[in-house]
Symmetry: C2
Subunit: 167 residues, 2 copies
């Protein structure tokens, strides 16, 4: 039914890939908006860039230099400086100097930061589960696999795209 269509992309048409693209974009917008409001809660008081920056440090569980952190979170170095400033003010991360190369600034998440991330992840889980509650188990399994493949494709294109920029 849907074969052949993906090869030759007709500009004005609404093919299956375009449907996925529209769904992903719409879900992305809603998810980020809802999450933004959650992060604004008095318990957290984080912004989206602050959260994703902190999350990356939490996930890698190691020091990370500024440029790598910027790359991983898709922010410019200039933006990241301010984001890390505010995270450091709240004592959620710490800045260190790389002993070998004193130009590099290494960032690590603190215990305080780790605790906050755990709290936020829990709150977000509850939020998202309300939206996913009507899926049955088998759908969940399939969705997990498909989303993983989408994510893989997106990160791969990011890496191989001309310095992360398209079009």
């Amino acid at each position: 039914m849907t074969s052949e269509i993906r090869e030759q992309v007709i500009p004005g048409e609404r093919g299956p890939l375009e449907q996925i693209e529209q769904s992903i974009m719409q879900i992305s917008w809603l998810a980020q908006r809802q999450f933004m409001q959650l992060l604004d809660d008095e318990r957290f008081r984080l912004t989206l860039p602050q959260f994703y920056t902190l999350l990356h440090l939490y996930q890698i569980a190691a020091e990370c230099k500024m440029s790598d952190l910027a790359e991983a979170t898709q922010q410019s170095a200039a933006s990241l400086t301010g984001v890390v400033d505010r995270l450091a003010e709240k004592q959620l991360v710490e800045r260190k100097r790389h002993p070998g190369d004193r130009r590099q600034v290494m960032v690590v998440v603190t215990d305080r930061g780790r605790m906050l991330i755990a709290e936020i992840k829990q709150a977000r889980r509850e939020q998202m589960q309300a939206a996913l509650a009507h899926l049955v188990d088998q759908e969940v399994d399939v969705l997990i696999q498909l989303l993983d493949r989408v994510l893989l494709g997106m990160t791969r294109v990011l890496e191989h795209g001309e310095s992360g920029r398209w079009a």
Copy 2:
């Protein structure tokens, strides 16, 4: 294998729903970041809120009052005023007064705005297709259906949540 787990949600566990939630959040962040860069192209020069506001007007293909537009795009009324200001400056939308209730401001997309949306949708399609190119046809079909259901769940929770806010 995954039955029973969804009913009783164990806080610290990493269940299948949590996996979906993490994938969706990560995809959302990446998709919005990449799209932000695309919109920054000299051909478009739009921001994300500007695009989604314009897109909604394009999709409903009718006048829309400010409060409905704010609701639909998940922005505060105060933010939206500025967004519409800038869209109007670029002559992508027009403001009108509602004849019956002169408090209401009605917004419509212009021809210029429609053309720009069409261009952006085309560019975005190409961008996204690079990321989805490695999915096979059957996966595409399944993914479409699952994403639709996720989207349905998210919008439903939004509507029935306490005035769009959670936690």
